[in-house]
């Protein structure tokens, strides 16, 4: 599945589009950044409620393709801009973590 499939999902707002043609590896859910740091898969979709600048740092270091902020969380404008320059997509949804990940999974994520 490519990133653009997720960008179009109803109930998800694309705050940063990243590269829509990027191929997605896996979905990953975690809120503890230290665990995400060691476990987030490269080219993955990372679903979390942790919306701060360090979230982007972890995503960047792990080569995450897309951050999905659940429970209506967001990132500040400066961080979103940085995500754009690093080619990392950022989505926000009001869904809880599990439901958000499930929707993405049902849309065809491997």
């Amino acid at each position: 599945m490519r990133l653009k499939t997720i960008l179009k999902l109803p109930g998800f707002r694309a705050l940063v589009k990243g590269d829509p043609d990027r191929e997605i590896s896996r979905i990953f859910c975690c809120d503890l950044l230290s665990i995400a740091m060691s476990k987030a898969p490269a080219d993955g979709v990372w679903v979390t409620v942790m919306g701060n600048r360090n979230t982007l740092a972890v995503a960047s270091l792990t080569d995450t393709a897309c951050i999905v902020l659940a429970e209506g969380m967001s990132l500040d404008d400066g961080t979103l801009e940085k995500a754009g320059s690093e080619g990392i997509a950022v989505l926000s949804t009001d869904l809880p973590v599990f439901d958000a990940a499930l929707k993405i999974y049902q849309a065809g994520a491997p």
Partner: protein, 140 residues
């Protein structure tokens, strides 16, 4: 490359939101050098955890990274409080991080264990009240 390359970073202890910038910068340099992505990931994880620890516990510090043909060496030194019980600090789940830091998603007690797990060699030299120097190597 026949001659080792050295990169130096000053870590600012005041700004938690900027923690990780040195590791990001290092990761990009390693990418430019064309190193294996697995090696880059190991260095990025270990250095990031160390960088975060310096900001959380030691009010910043210095990181020197040397890249040779065979290995990447990271030396992280600070003049912070030191680690009273290294054995305990190396246990997964043991943390002395503040509540404010935990609320940002850190302080899970994974920092030092992750650094050990993702590097081929790790040495901790610490003196309470004087500071800590951690040397890590990742083989290429």
């Amino acid at each position: 490359m026949s001659q080792a390359l050295t990169f130096r970073y000053e870590i600012d202890g005041d700004d938690f939101t900027r923690a990780g910038e040195a590791s990001s910068s290092m990761k990009n340099k390693l990418k430019q050098l064309g190193l294996d992505s697995d090696v880059i990931r190991k260095v990025a994880i270990a250095m990031y955890e160390g960088e975060i620890n310096m900001v959380i516990h030691a009010d910043g510090g210095k990181i020197t990274v040397t890249v040779s043909d065979t290995e990447i060496t990271m030396v992280l030194s600070d003049t912070g409080p030191g680690i009273p019980d290294v054995e305990k600090a190396m246990q997964e789940g043991y943390s002395t991080a503040r509540a404010e830091v935990r609320s940002l998603g850190f302080g899970a007690g994974m920092g030092l264990p992750n650094m050990k797990k993702y590097t081929d060699e790790m040495q901790i030299d610490t003196t309470v009240g004087r500071g800590t120097t951690i040397t890590m190597k990742v083989y290429i």
